[in-house]
């Protein structure tokens, strides 16, 4: 077997055991990571329900403003791109922590949190613009209710992720996040990537498809 293959197998086994390979579990995988995946599965159902509600009420508003009156596609495309790139910085943070490069790990973690903050800033700007300039409130029409609830729930998830990322960076600075417990970074990373994949769906279904 080649050296590269041995390295890949070792990395694979390390992943399967959650990075530190310390305890044996009934399923053969880390309980914390399994718990996060189960949580993400339940989140699929939550966001699925919210997206289905948006689709159900789509085009049924009897008074405006309508989606075509309020959406600013170039602006939302830029913020979607920023959130997508935050997934890249997150995976680079995990990789750096796994190599034992704590300083770069923190830089990537803070970069991820800052990119997420820019996305949330964009969402706040968008909501303010929709509400003040275009007159779309939560109870204005069916479109407003379903749009704000769906994107607002997503925004709350991103905000919680940002808080977790800043906490991770702080813990890393205090020496609490090292190569030995990189699974903590991986679990927060899974949550962050999930809010990104949900936005991929929301961006397409809510903003791009007419």
């Amino acid at each position: 077997m080649s050296t590269a293959a041995v390295h890949d197998d070792a990395a694979h086994d390390d992943h399967a055991l959650g990075g530190h390979g310390a305890h044996v579990t009934a399923t053969g995988v880390s309980n914390e990571k399994l718990g996060m995946w189960v949580f993400l599965g339940s989140e699929c159902l939550l966001f699925g329900a919210l997206i289905a509600t948006y689709l159900n009420y789509r085009g049924k508003s009897i008074n405006g403003p309508y989606p075509k009156d309020v959406y600013n596609i170039p602006f939302t495309s830029a913020s979607s791109f920023i959130l997508l790139m935050s997934s890249l910085t997150m995976v680079l943070a995990l990789s750096a922590v796994g190599r034992g490069d704590g300083r770069r790990g923190r830089i990537w973690l803070i970069s991820t949190a800052l990119l997420g903050s820019i996305f949330i800033g964009g969402q706040i700007y968008e909501f303010r613009d929709f509400y003040q300039a275009k007159g779309l409130g939560l109870s204005t029409n069916l479109f407003g209710s379903s749009f704000y609830v769906l994107t607002g729930f997503h925004g709350v998830h991103v905000t919680l992720g940002i808080l977790m990322l800043f906490s991770l960076a702080f813990l890393s600075w205090r020496g609490k996040i090292t190569k030995a417990n990189k699974e903590t970074v991986e679990i927060i990373g899974l949550y962050w990537h999930f809010v990104d994949v949900i936005w991929i769906v929301i961006f397409t279904v809510v903003y791009l498809i007419k």
Binding site: L17, T27, G28, V29, V91, L92, G100, F203, K210
Partner: protein
């Protein structure tokens, strides 16, 4: 008085390894797909393609982006298959369930969507049931732990 401040061990390895370069390549690919999506939106707006064609292409692109992020960034491609089963089955179940609900509410306006949705729901439920009856993660990479646990149990 001695300081108890944490002193980080120095790291002398490379700033980016081979996996990182692969992640950057994947990130670039995702950026290109996003640009194509936005381009399709404006092509449809200018009347270059029909709304139906554009919708299908956008849905396929979104699915590809979803799969790439889940596979590479969330490590589903390399990680233990139990995670893939949990997430994929959950997502498929949710998809079929909500297609059925939306069809029932008349969103799709086509009755033929309902029956494939219900059939798909039943098939996924049956597959999940069969896998569950064989035991969780029977051939997973954590099999050594299973074997060990079973061995201890037998004794």
């Amino acid at each position: 008085m001695a300081s108890n401040r944490y002193v980080e061990p120095e790291y002398h390895g490379p700033a980016l390894d081979a996996h990182d370069k692969q992640y950057i390549g994947v990130g670039f690919g995702l950026a290109v797909l996003t640009a194509i999506e936005v381009g399709l939106y404006f092509i449809e707006k200018d009347g270059g393609i029909s709304g139906g064609q554009s919708s299908w292409m956008l849905l396929i692109l979104a699915f590809v982006k979803f799969a790439v992020v889940a596979g590479f960034f969330m490590h589903l491609k390399l990680d233990n298959p139990i995670f893939k089963r949990l997430f994929v089955m959950g997502a498929i179940l949710a998809g079929f369930c909500y297609v059925a609900v939306l069809t029932a509410f008349g969103v799709f306006h086509r009755a033929w969507i309902t029956w494939p949705a219900y059939l798909g729901f039943a098939i996924v439920a049956a597959v999940l049931g069969l896998r569950g009856s064989r035991g969780v993660g029977g051939h997973d990479h954590g099999h050594a732990d299973h074997d060990h646990a079973d061995h201890d149990h037998a004794h």
